[in-house]
Symmetry: C2
Subunit: 345 residues, 2 copies
């Protein structure tokens, strides 16, 4: 197996990306190909004992930056690490692509660049997914930003693709929900209400609507939503998480006695932080394209990058792309038939 890593992706590239690649090569024993500025990558590699590791470097002289307009950037930069790296997967020279860069850029690379993988047959829109740290089981949330205004059948396909990935993660008969403003079947905006009716008639374990508070409760395996609300919900969760921890830290430090208490309770805080740490998950797939593409957090460190590569290996081993293709295909006739009256109006 050969995993391609965008060495120029993260906020601290290529340092943490290369470090993560080295750790992953050691841990998983698979070939890791680092794509990016060869000289800078080599400088980083020189800091590690890489003897016996299957590490290769492919040069790319351009970088898609965080602020760039995704589709323009990937068209104008065919020599970027994203385009060069994903092309290796497209051309069958590698099995997966991992990047902590501009997620819109990764999406655009997959769809419109010279290295494009293109959509899986029947998929309306690919979706960016993420595993949310919860109090219970892991929950996959998608879409979190690829598609802001969604049609009902797109939401339905997000649910199907999320279910396919949950199976890759080892979940049997994944519980799939729609994100809404209430649990009742009648809740939701127009697109969610229509998607709800469609999902009731498709072959997956659709459990109905969940609310924002349920995102972190770990009561379902997959939550589907449009990329606008998914992005807002995810960032709200991240914001509240860091706000509360910093508020607690600040108040604990305000007085000697509470400071002492904080010191003694520190192991408990560490356990909670680790449990809710996105770095443990590493990354999650861009679902709906013809290849394994893992998007990692821009703020990833070496551990997160290592884990993101682990996610990629698992997706290859458990045939994510084939799973999505087969679940989408199985639902396509019913979905097409159900959507026809809507399309005529």
């Amino acid at each position: 197996m050969r995993i391609v890593l965008d060495a120029m992706g993260s906020d601290h590239a290529p340092q943490v990306d290369v470090a993560g690649g080295v750790r992953a090569a050691r841990r998983f024993g698979q070939e890791i190909t680092l794509v990016g500025d060869q000289k800078r990558i080599q400088q980083e590699l020189d800091q590690y004992d890489t003897a016996g590791l299957k590490l290769t470097v492919v040069h790319a002289d351009q970088v898609i930056e965080m602020g760039e307009h995704p589709s323009e950037a990937v068209r104008n930069k065919p020599g970027s690490s994203m385009v060069v790296g994903m092309k290796l997967v497209r051309d069958g020279q590698a099995d997966a692509f991992v990047s902590a860069g501009n997620s819109g850029g990764v999406l655009a690379t997959a769809l419109v660049s010279a290295g494009r993988l293109e959509r899986i047959h029947g998929v309306q829109r690919p979706a960016i997914s993420t595993l949310v740290p919860t109090a219970g089981a892991k929950t996959l949330l998608l879409d979190i930003g690829a598609n802001t205004d969604c049609k009902p059948d797109w939401l339905v396909q997000f649910a199907l693709m999320g279910s396919a990935y949950a199976k890759v993660l080892g979940v049997t008969n994944p519980r799939v929900a729609l994100l809404a403003n209430g649990e009742e079947d009648t809740k939701g905006n127009a697109a969610v209400q229509a998607a709800h009716a469609l999902l009731r008639q498709l072959p997956l374990n659709f459990v109905g609507n969940v609310e924002g508070k349920d995102i972190v409760r770990g009561i379902v395996d997959v939550i589907a939503c449009d990329g606008f609300v998914g992005n807002v919900a995810l960032k709200t969760a991240e914001g509240v998480f860091s706000m509360i921890l910093s508020q607690i830290k600040q108040e604990i430090k305000a007085k000697p006695l509470t400071s002492l208490g904080g010191l003694l309770a520190k192991p408990a805080f560490k356990t909670v932080s680790k449990k809710l740490d996105y770095r443990e998950y590493g990354g999650a797939p861009l679902l709906g394209v013809n290849g394994v593409v893992i998007i990692a957090h821009g703020r990833s460190d070496a551990l997160a990058m290592e884990n993101a590569i682990g996610v990629a290996i698992n997706c290859v081993e458990n045939k994510l792309v084939e799973g999505v293709r087969s679940d989408i295909e199985a639902s396509l006739p019913t979905l097409t038939r159900l959507m026809q009256p809507q399309q005529q109006t």
Copy 2:
């Protein structure tokens, strides 16, 4: 001044509602009218020393329950505490209405019941607002559930009405933002992008887009969004808040040393909990109707109900309705002109 309180609203009605009403009558010295089942209200009142307090009771023999379909319920139950209570405001016999009941029911009562206040002239859709506990200044979020699918000019009016309420709260030149999936001006779904362009041309302090993480940062005074995403964001924040606190509690209790630490640090946790406690805010207005209507949290306790009545008194004293009317009127010609090309397509 006379404030009408729906005594049958909260999850623990009429107990906490009456308790809150008694506390508010004592604290503010204004007349509080409790509307609901006279016998049950009297039973609660008998537990307090109400001598000298301006407390009155108006009987209503029906209740809008939490699970009911709002507009059907208020039409079918003209004798409900909500309809009877709000009618007192509509008929000029009282100055404000406060309820911790079904918020959709309060909205429907204001719009379609026998006690309807109706929309302020020029207002497209009323919005339910809430003050979010943040690390900094209070932030008003609206809409949080009245309108799931919103047109751009509705979002614009939410921003204007939120700004008017922020002024009632004492904020000079309130900073108003749109909730989006990124800070850049080009972010947002179609409605948000169109609202963004409109807001740039209107007389209010529009500071651009904010993200989900900014909801609890206290960096703006008002955040406008559609009621679907607002509801999801608010409930996500509440969910993460209670999940983290319960996780920390659980881990602290897991070991003797961390338990001791937790005990010593308890005052710090209490300060944080109090700072982020919705009960301190009590409630927030339903904006855009011809009267002061305050919606309190269903899980309100007596303190929250007391504070919700305080919110109502402040809105009456600082002329909320007049403020909304004047800000909506001032923007109407420009907004109508800007919306015309869109309406033709």
